[in-house]
């Protein structure tokens, strides 16, 4: 059941922190003294344990134990979270966590792969939500369907085919802020490499979105294998895009070359036009033509047209039943410090 057999290398504390907080700003590091100032910190996660409707214990990830005078029942969880300045909250009836362990333990088998295991655990959690034993805010669980394992595997095959590498490189000005190079081997990843390794492979990277993608692609394909996708952008731009509610934000950023996808796989082209897809219903061919006209695909325009033919099988959103970027966006928009999760510019 343990699926870990990868080499993880090339991250120092700063580059790792920046990578993680890009999608999980709630995990941003705080100074020890900030704990003493916790009452003034916005955000965080509220966890409430209750029994017969009464609070047994309420703790806040930034403030420690808290009192919830407005709590009458789990229906008040949102109000309690709001009072604590938090957009995220979990309430569990006494015994619910133990029951979650029961269900996972009773259903998981040694031969289960990672996808099956994760879906099984999420499914058990959802059951408890449906049974009213567990309450989660925001209620992503209700809006996001759980696909069957085989669909998840197919989506994974589209995102990063076996033997291929995917790269995300983020800059701030001319400085390489963080990066991650992933390579898939079999069902999982066998390489998770950070900016130190990327620098050793490529040499200097200075935020030139015309030169750097080419250099990275050549180096990665030389050392690791064919690249399935590459994302190159200033960190702030990528963060804004992840948080954006605007339809077509990605397509626009690509057209303006604020973000470069090189190579751009079919699923990324479709995802980039997802907002526009919504606007035009099923006329996906037209959308792709529009993207092509905007120059989004550049030299890959021929391929982009081919993508239209394949659209039904590469639209990850359609495949999964939800848009993973929407999930990330919902989390980020709910995070108090998402816009500026890391202020370590002066860290020596």
């Amino acid at each position: 059941m343990s699926g870990r057999a990868w080499q993880l290398a090339g991250f120092d504390a700063r580059s790792w922190h920046r990578l993680v907080t890009l999608v999980a700003p709630g995990f941003a590091s705080h100074a020890p003294a900030a704990r003493e100032r916790g009452a003034r910190v916005e955000g965080g996660l509220l966890f409430v344990l209750y029994d017969e409707g009464e609070v047994v214990r309420a703790i806040h990830s930034l403030r420690g134990p808290v009192d919830l005078p407005m709590w009458r029942s789990p229906a008040d969880l949102a109000a309690c979270a709001d009072a604590c300045g938090s957009h995220f909250a979990v309430a569990a009836a006494v015994g619910a966590i133990e029951e979650l362990y029961e269900r996972v333990g009773g259903r998981l088998h040694r031969g289960d792969d990672v996808a099956s295991g994760l879906l099984l655990a999420l499914g058990a959690a959802r059951e408890l939500i449906d049974e009213g034993e567990l309450h989660v805010i925001p209620s992503l669980a209700r809006g996001v369907p759980l696909p069957p394992p085989e669909v998840l595997r197919r989506a994974w095959d589209h995102l990063l085919p076996d033997g291929h590498a995917g790269v995300i490189v983020l800059f701030e000005g001319v400085e390489l802020e963080t990066a991650v190079v992933l390579r898939r081997r079999g069902a999982g990843l066998d390489r998770v490499l950070g900016p130190e390794v990327l620098r050793r492979m490529v040499g200097r990277l200075d935020g030139d979105l015309r030169r750097d993608p080419r250099a990275v692609r050549e180096a990665v394909e030389r050392e690791l294998g064919p690249m399935a996708f590459g994302v190159f952008a200033p960190t702030t731009t990528l963060r804004e895009l992840l948080m954006s509610r605007e339809s077509g934000a990605w397509a626009g950023a690509l057209a303006r070359r604020e973000v470069v996808l090189d190579p751009m796989p079919p699923w990324a082209a479709v995802a980039a036009g997802a907002g526009a897809l919504h606007a035009v219903g099923r006329r996906s061919r037209d959308v792709l033509s529009t993207l092509d006209a905007l120059g989004v695909f550049g030299p890959f325009s021929k391929r982009a047209r081919e993508v239209g033919e394949l659209l039904g099988s590469v639209d990850v959103r359609a495949m999964l039943g939800f848009d993973p970027l929407d999930v990330v966006g919902t989390i980020l928009r709910g995070s108090a410090n998402a816009a500026h999760p890391d202020d370590d510019d002066h860290e020596p």
Partner: protein
């Protein structure tokens, strides 16, 4: 800490030398059971990457000593908890839920079954591992290269070596034979309480200490790793008849007070404390900036740990932000740890001042029992950095009671000196108890209240205060007004406002 098996052996001398040059006097060496066990169940300590004797020779050649961890789960973030599949998937070894299902824990990206520390089958397998590993260490134990052997389930998350709230393994049930020495009345009282509430008894790491001792490691060199709750330490020490606990320092999330409190508490309870401090992160824990980690480390060291390990010394499989990268080259922030080491050397050595009000072990066990039995997902919450006192259930233990216990325990006077440089054991464990009953009048006072944490040390006939600021601003320390301090007058202001989290030593001001 260097996970030598993840490095090319040609890099071993370079890694050891680089850490020696940074100022470290020992290398922490975890042995991962899962890596050393072959498919047929035999153990391999001699293949090039697994040759622990060769690595220890490199350590010795650099003039350093070694702290060896035998686990069975010796370090965070080893796949499958570092335990061989043969054991992990043996139902007799697995922790159970109430309905006798295996307990699965996150082993990202998947799950792993949790072993039962109460399972007789698991204990036998783990003891066999420890016996074999000690045998492989024999020459280095004999020539003194190995200064200490740490046993126990050390990673701070998930597997808590205390009243494990999920384990309903038949060997952990209340109707099983008692697993703790009957002469420990306090232990029995605690167990009775646990049994009353949960129906099953618990076990601590004493059996691992016994396994190491039976294999030939002298008790003075054995330390017990504890996970999370420092209140486990006296039980682990008592049961294992050893005096040193290896404690993973709380993350910065615990705050200045939390870090200070836990280390002081562990110091008072465990006699000698070996601290594990983070220099980076296993990738599945929330990331910590180097600056914040260093601040947490400074507070923890100031609170009185006798020696410490900087975890993630050299980047190996799965470690992020280590001092050395995968090629054993020094990363930029390593110099800051080097400076911390130099600073630690300036802290006063000597005798903790204050008075001894021995807290009865029964009381400690009672507190332990009340914190060990609760319905919160402790492991999961500890993973994001909650301190134990934040997680206890209502009516189990109040903050006041905790602080009261802490106050009485940390006021004890304990001889203290740095370890490793002079011997294998951090403290001789002698407990002075001459000044009972006056402790509260003898503690230094801080103004504004709660602004700082203070530890008083008598060093070479002089006295010093170690002050860790909890908030920003000027801090005033008032000497106690009775007992040994009564001849002192006036108050002491820190020479400048202290930023939150900063540590300052006010030397000789009270001499």
């Amino acid at each position: 800490m260097v996970r030598f098996s993840t490095l090319d052996p040609s890099l071993w001398p370079r890694a050891v030398r680089a850490l020696a040059d940074l100022g470290f006097n020992a290398i922490d060496v975890p042995l991962v059971w899962r890596e050393h066990e072959r498919d047929d169940g035999s153990l391999d300590f001699t293949s090039p990457r697994l040759d622990v004797a060769a690595f220890l020779r490199a350590v010795s050649s650099a003039g350093l000593r070694a702290v060896v961890r035998l686990g069975p789960w010796p370090v965070s973030d080893v796949p499958a908890l570092g335990i061989p599949d043969r054991v992990l998937h043996d139902r007799r070894c697995q922790a159970r839920t109430r309905r006798q299902n295996p307990v699965y824990v996150l082993d990202l990206p998947g799950f792993a079954p949790l072993p039962s520390v109460a399972s007789v089958a698991y204990r036998e397998a783990a003891a066999a591992w420890i016996t074999a590993a000690v045998k492989a260490l024999e020459p280095a134990l004999r020539d003194g290269t190995v200064a200490r052997v740490i046993v126990g389930h050390g990673p701070p998350a998930i597997l808590r070596d205390d009243a494990f709230e999920f384990d309903h393994h038949p060997d952990a049930r209340g109707d099983a034979a008692p697993v703790l020495p009957p002469h420990r009345r306090g232990v029995d009282a605690a167990l009775d309480e646990v049994k009353r509430q949960t129906g099953h008894v618990v076990e601590f790491s004493g059996w691992l200490v016994r396994a190491a001792a039976d294999a030939g490691v002298e008790r003075a060199r054995i330390a017990v790793a504890i996970a999370g709750s420092v209140l486990t330490s006296p039980l682990a020490c008592a049961v294992g008849a050893t005096r040193v606990v290896a404690m993973t320092a709380p993350p910065p999330r615990a705050g200045v007070s939390g870090i200070w409190r836990q280390v002081r508490f562990a110091c008072a309870l465990g006699a000698g404390v070996h601290l594990d401090l983070r220099a980076g992160n296993p990738p599945f824990e929330p990331p910590t900036r180097a600056t914040h980690t260093l601040q947490a480390a400074r507070v923890a060291i100031a609170a009185g740990a006798c020696d410490f390990t900087v975890q993630m010394g050299c980047a190996g499989d799965g470690w992020v932000g280590a001092l050395l990268d995968e090629r054993a080259e020094v990363r930029a922030h390593a110099a800051r740890w080097s400076a911390l080491l130099a600073w630690a050397q300036t802290l006063p050595e000597g005798r903790e001042l204050g008075v001894t009000v021995p807290m009865s072990l029964d009381e400690v066990y009672e507190v332990r029992a009340s914190t060990g039995v609760h319905p919160l997902p402790m492991g999961l919450l500890a993973w994001v950095g909650f301190a134990p006192e934040e997680l206890t259930a209502r009516d189990a233990i109040t903050a006041t009671r905790w602080v009261d216990a802490e106050g009485r325990l940390t006021a004890q006077s304990v001889p203290w000196r740095r370890a490793l440089a002079t011997g294998p054991c951090a403290c001789d464990g002698a407990w002075a108890d001459a000044q009972a009953a006056q402790w509260s009048a003898l503690a230094p006072r801080v103004s504004p209240e709660g602004a700082a944490l203070v530890r008083a040390v008598e060093s070479h006939g002089r006295r010093a205060l170690v002050v860790a600021s909890a908030v920003e601003g000027p801090i005033r320390v008032s000497p106690p007004t009775s007992g040994r301090w009564s001849d002192e007058a006036g108050v002491i202001d820190t020479p400048r406002p202290l930023p939150g989290g900063e540590v300052m030593v006010l030397r000789e001001v009270l001499s």
